[in-house]
Symmetry: C2
């Protein structure tokens, strides 16, 4: 699998927020946990990271929960992934060398940089808005991992 569980849980949680009707304010983590079948306390920790990174806002207490920090059009998928997996997640060498380096390439370097560029472009273009839109209008799946 390409992404860690933490990252997948994070992505699916923000997607869940993205498909909520705009009038909804704070969504309890318990609800997300139940609807997406993600362990509650685990999810809480993951979402705290997203809050620290400024992707979501959280509010304690009754009527509390979490909420997207920006409009879905400004929430980028690549950025969310990198905030969980690490900044240079998409820049590594496919053969695992410490740095993917034009000046010291591995045997798959040329081919891999081309594909990496496409992946980065793809994820860099995708915002929560487009994903949430597709989920809502085409009924794409969000449940079951």
């Amino acid at each position: 699998m390409i992404f860690s569980k933490r990252c997948l849980h994070a992505l699916r949680a923000v997607l869940y927020l993205g498909v909520q009707p705009p009038e909804r304010e704070f969504v309890p983590i318990r609800e997300i946990s139940q609807k997406l079948d993600i362990p509650f306390h685990f999810l809480t920790k993951i979402l705290k990271e997203l809050a620290d990174q400024g992707f979501i806002i959280s509010s304690r207490g009754a009527a509390g929960g979490i909420q997207l920090a920006k409009p879905t059009s400004e929430l980028n998928v690549k950025e969310i992934i990198e905030s969980i997996e690490g900044e240079d997640y998409f820049s590594g060498c496919i053969l695992g060398f410490s740095k993917c380096d034009n000046d010291n390439p591995c045997a798959l370097h040329d081919r891999w940089v081309a594909i990496k560029a496409e992946i980065q472009m793809m994820l860099g273009e995708e915002h929560l808005e487009s994903l949430a839109d597709r989920i809502k209008t085409q009924g794409l799946r969000l449940l079951e991992i």
Copy 2:
């Protein structure tokens, strides 16, 4: 990182075999372990898997070691990876759903299947021969992880 350590160690070990002069027969695992800085016993276990899968041949005893089971032109990178990571490693859903399914796609499905196809094509085309060739003629790196 995309591939597990086990997979990276396996790939680098067979690459090491691939760049050996053709007259060399069995190469001791200890040599590979030292040259590539891979833990010996760990590497032994990984290579046993490759031997069981028919990619390499091993011989015990003095003057023993391992050897590619076929000409480098017949050893495919994708197959080696799949033998370590699992057959369906390159067919999963990017959002971690249980199956990447045209009939029940996720919000990134269309874009991801396109990129997956490129990755599979790329790795399916690459044989040990081409990689070993590049390493030898262009001095590409094989050391340091």
